[in-house]
């Protein structure tokens, strides 16, 4: 066997990462399975939760994709002022805290929202968006942009020469080019969104509830927080894991697409004379659907910014610390795996995709509960879980760069006799700064907006900003909640921007 073509990087950091990830995914699952009360089996209410979980995920995926197809086609063939900005914004919901988006959606579609006041003035009955409609609305809000990006990428992957050829033959573009592309892209997109919606706890928490709109994750939360029935929570967590793992296995098989990929600034030139007005309407409608709720967050939040309760600022500080910790840990873990490379590292890296924050949280709760007050461990566990759940995205962002550095400079570093640490300090960190910054920003923003595991653990004095905001909404203190939403939105984007900016710092080569 050949000598390693890279300076010897010690093995232990990647082993530590692997142990941590395995502990948090498989280990917590073990704790859950151990405590689950299998004997009782699933009650009718539990079956209803499973049905609802699958149903809302299926519907959300279908609606998102159906709406995304015309929008993606319009974006693929039209060039207009602000197009690139719009496409960039389509990546933003990934960074957007769920609770903030929900607040914006309620401001538009909620009981006292813009839509209902319009309807009332026109003499119609108001609509309610709690329950299934609300869950679907929020899921589509988050996943429509993702679906548009996936499908737009499909459109742009059709070579321009083909459009020219089809035009010169006078053949139908749809049947020859677009239909085969959609047949390849749509199933992947459906599956990815289905998977995301299986674990959209924060959406179910805020928009769902009641016997007819409870997801499995929400049932876990209720079993822990309201009934303190850990055996039942553990049983439900096992069910949730089985659901997620099944879907993830399918998804991994058929997807290799990076939803954060860029390079979509090209338009497809075509000659089949589609009507511009229809495209314009689709683009306009999608932009309004995505931007108006965010605008409402800003409009409602701004007036009360200065007289927010002090507890909000304290929660914000806690959240920033949690996000910083999670981002640091996440990037460090991703780096150890990326530098190690190999099949085992990539399996460890995608494992968290199959995990639900709530399942991991329940497991962690069961593990720490006998020893300490769960609330005391709330923030530390949130850091750990957030870092782990963001790991697949961080790894995806930095792995190509790590491979590149190894391929380009591995032999040079080895022949110079660089030690593992010198290699890291002098070559890896400077060469990978940009993707590292991006990955850190991603992890920080995801952690900042997370409203998952913290809900299981936190008491009053461990609130993060999303949790504090959720509690304000629950208490109908909408003005304070609005300001908290704006603060949360600003902080999430700011953290991402700072990290990403750091990564671009030395753009001289």
């Amino acid at each position: 066997m050949a000598h390693s073509a890279v300076p010897i990087t010690p093995r232990w950091p990647s082993v530590v990462t692997a142990v941590l990830v395995l502990l948090l995914t498989i280990g917590t699952l073990g704790a859950v399975a151990w405590r689950a009360e299998w004997a009782g089996g699933l009650a009718p209410a539990d079956w209803a939760a499973i049905r609802f979980t699958v149903e809302q995920a299926l519907l959300s995926a279908a609606i998102s994709v159906i709406l995304a197809i015309p929008v993606a086609r319009a974006l693929a063939r039209r060039r207009f002022y602000g197009r690139q900005l719009l496409i960039t914004l389509l990546g933003a919901p990934f960074l957007l805290p769920v609770i903030v988006a929900v607040f914006g959606l309620l401001a538009v579609f909620g009981r006292n929202g813009v839509l209902n006041s319009l309807l009332e003035q026109l003499g119609f009955a108001p609509v309610s968006i709690f329950g299934l409609q609300g869950v679907l609305l929020a899921n589509v809000f988050f996943n429509l942009p993702l679906a548009i990006r996936f499908i737009l990428q499909g459109w742009l992957s059709i070579p321009a020469e083909r459009f020219r050829l089809v035009a010169s033959l006078g053949a139908p573009v749809g049947r020859l080019l677009e239909w085969p592309m959609l047949r390849a892209v749509v199933p992947t997109t459906l599956l990815v969104i289905f998977l995301i919606c299986l674990t959209s706890f924060a959406v179910a928490l805020t928009m769902g509830g009641g016997p007819r709109a409870t997801t499995v994750e929400l049932a876990i939360y209720q079993a822990v927080r309201f009934d303190f029935d850990l055996g039942k929570a553990a049983l439900l967590a096992s069910v949730q894991f089985a659901l997620g793992a099944t879907a993830a296995v399918f998804a991994l098989r058929i997807t290799s697409e990076n939803p954060l990929g860029t390079g979509m600034d090209r338009t497809v030139q075509r000659w089949d004379g589609a009507r511009a007005s229809v495209d314009g309407l689709w683009i306009m409608a999608a932009a309004l659907f995505l931007l108006v709720p965010l605008a409402m967050v800003v409009l409602r939040g701004l007036p009360g910014m200065l007289d927010m309760p002090g507890s909000i600022w304290a929660a914000a500080l806690r959240s920033v610390l949690v996000a910083g910790g999670a981002a640091t840990l996440c990037v460090a873990m991703a780096l150890t795996l990326a530098l190690r490379g190999g099949a085992v590292a990539s399996v460890i890296g995608v494992l968290p995709l199959a995990a639900s924050g709530l399942v991991v949280g329940t497991g962690a709760f069961l593990i720490v509960f006998p020893f300490i007050r769960p609330a005391d461990a709330a923030l530390a566990i949130t850091v750990l879980v957030n870092a782990t759940l963001a790991l697949p995205f961080a790894l995806r962002a930095i792995a190509p760069a790590a491979t590149q550095v190894r391929a380009d400079y591995g032999r040079l570093g080895a022949s110079l006799g660089m030690s593992g640490w010198s290699w890291m300090r002098l070559v890896v960190l400077p060469r990978m700064r940009r993707p590292l910054g991006f990955a850190a920003g991603l992890a920080a923003a995801l952690s900042m907006g997370d409203l998952g595991v913290i809900t299981l653990f936190a008491g009053q004095s461990e609130e993060t900003l999303p949790l504090a905001m959720y509690r304000l909404m629950g208490a109908y203190r909408m003005e304070a909640a609005a300001s908290a939403a704006l603060l949360l939105l600003g902080l999430s984007l700011l953290l991402f921007w700072i990290c990403d900016r750091w990564g671009r710092g030395n753009a001289e080569f």
């Binding site: 400079y409 040079l412 080895a414 022949s415 640490w421």
Partner: protein
Amino acid sequence: MLSFDNLTLTQGGFTLAADTGFPVGEVIALIGPSGAGKSTLLSAIAGFLTPARGRILWNGMDLSGLPPGQRPVSMLFQDNNLFPHLTALQSVGLGLRPDLRLSRQEIDASEAALARVGLAGLADRKPGALSGGQQSRVALARVLVSERPLVLLDEPFAALGPALKDEMLDLVKSRLHAAGKTVIMVTHDPADARRVAGFSALVAEGRVATPVATDALLNDPPAALADYLGHGGS
């Protein structure tokens, strides 16, 4: 002497055998058709490829099992010989301290090496601000400053134009050879060998031949080399 003791290298389905020795303190060209295994031999000397059989010895010391960084070897690759984010001075300093914690003397030595390859005053430039020829000079300065006696050149000047390439080869002769280093260089071009290499070894048909005086080899090529050079070659 750099000795190949019953050496067999395999890579994919390809095999190269060597059982000979290279003289110390000389510039030796490896010449032969592409795909004959010239770079494979360099990889084995540098420690990137473990021999299937046999040993490589440097002045009697067995190199087997030594990682690349601990061999008495500096190597210049076809590309990526400099890190784009390090200055010329740092790139040279890596030859002295791979962790770049340079003492005052080491900085002075690096600057002196840069001056010797004609780059005085450019120590703070990064590769992006240097021409292709200047980048090659930085890499040569690093080889010059390091205490490793054996230098492997895997066609590092291939991307340069003919005049620049000749300049670099002249530097190899006037600086590295003059400093007493043993230089082994891969080349496709007999003119390169004639220009700098006192000795040349034919690498063809799965074997590394014993180096002989370059002029003698090229003036009266054996059949395998004659085929490669073609009629009227050199």
